[in-house]
């Protein structure tokens, strides 16, 4: 690896170092924070650091999109879900059913990092030059990306729009409040499971096949329905935001 200042000016090196430290500290904070809200805020920090690095690498449009879409839409969506579900009050790490998994995961991760760094020492394989245009051709960054997206990658762009529509429909279907009492599909299964559930007690954690069915009936009268019905709106609005800014 070459020296940091080998071909760089002092401001570039300082910018890179500061942004890199911000990225790494934020990433560590995402993993190490106990509270999911703190994890989300640390994720914002990392995203800003990556945006600074994008600017440093002449990707101004992507830096703006990174801040708007990631920090502005995706992390806000995370925070909405965290707040609405009330996960932020909970400690989630303590009970570890697989005791060997944590050191093993860390060992595997560090091994992968070392492997990547060793493999990347020499020349990077670059492959063939693509046809979508040089970075240094006339025009600014936005027009270059626009030309590339709307000519070379037009099919991928259209497929992306279809993907966004599918995601909107999926989010609505997944977050929709289930109807009470109605449902031609769930009725016979519930009828089969119901006596077994009653004989088993309210918790019914033991038998596996009746577990999901027994729990399914539980939140029908629970208090979370109104909260979750309200959740449909922000998730839709956020997706619409990211769709507008992203495409």
């Amino acid at each position: 690896m070459t020296n940091l200042l080998a071909a760089a000016t002092i401001p570039d090196a300082i910018t890179f170092a500061v942004a890199a430290v911000i990225c790494v500290v934020g990433a560590l904070g995402v993993v190490l924070a106990r509270n999911p809200v703190h994890s989300a805020l640390m994720l914002v920090m990392t995203l800003f650091g990556v945006a600074v690095l994008f600017v440093e690498e002449n990707a101004q449009f992507l830096a703006a999109v990174q801040v708007i879409v990631y920090a502005g839409a995706i992390v806000v969506l995370f925070l909405f879900v965290i707040m609405l579900l009330g996960v932020d009050r909970k400690e989630a790490i303590e009970r570890d059913p697989l005791p060997a998994q944590r050191p093993l995961a860390i060992a595997v991760g560090i091994l992968g990092l070392v492997e990547v760094l060793l493999l990347a020492r020499g020349q990077w394989p670059a492959g063939a030059r693509s046809v979508s245009g040089a970075l240094g051709s006339p025009g600014d960054n936005v027009s270059l990306i626009g030309k590339s997206v709307f000519t070379t990658y037009l099919l991928a762009f259209e497929v992306t729009s279809a993907l966004l529509v599918v995601a909107v429909v999926g989010a609505v279907v997944l977050a929709r409040r289930p109807r009470h009492g109605q449902g031609d599909r769930g009725a016979p299964e519930g009828a089969v499971v119901a006596p077994e559930d009653a004989s088993d007690g309210p918790e019914a954690t033991g038998p596996e096949p009746s577990g999901p069915q027994a729990i399914e009936g539980e939140p029908a009268g629970a208090m979370t329905d109104d909260d979750l019905a309200g959740e449909v709106m922000p998730s839709d609005g956020e997706l619409a935001d990211s769709e507008v800014t992203g495409s």
Partner: protein
């Protein structure tokens, strides 16, 4: 001139490793999702670095598509998490074993 590409790639590898370790270690589904976002960002950084190094706009276009797909993925994933939490409170990754044989 700006910083050599190897520094950016090293940083991206570090970010990816942190995200992967977090995905394996953490039990909260939302935090696991955030670790996936970290890994996506590391890949984006690699794309942009190679776009600069090879003098080719296609890397930045790929990042554009990754951003869109990440937005769609987060929306669907959070919808799944919301519907899981609606059925049972306190769903860490270990509680979701309904399909375990």
């Amino acid at each position: 001139m700006s910083i050599a590409a190897s520094w950016y790639l090293t940083l991206a590898a570090l970010l990816f490793t942190i995200g992967a370790i977090g995905l394996l270690v953490r039990r909260n589904v939302l935090v696991m999702f955030m670790c996936v976002e970290l890994m996506l960002n590391a890949a984006n950084l690699t794309f942009v670095t190679f776009a600069r190094r090879l003098n080719d706009i296609a890397g930045q276009t790929a990042v554009f598509f990754v951003l869109v797909v990440a937005a769609a993925e987060v929306v669907v994933g959070l919808g799944i998490i919301v519907s899981i939490y609606r059925r049972r409170l306190g769903a860490t990754a270990d509680d979701i074993h309904g399909l375990k044989g």
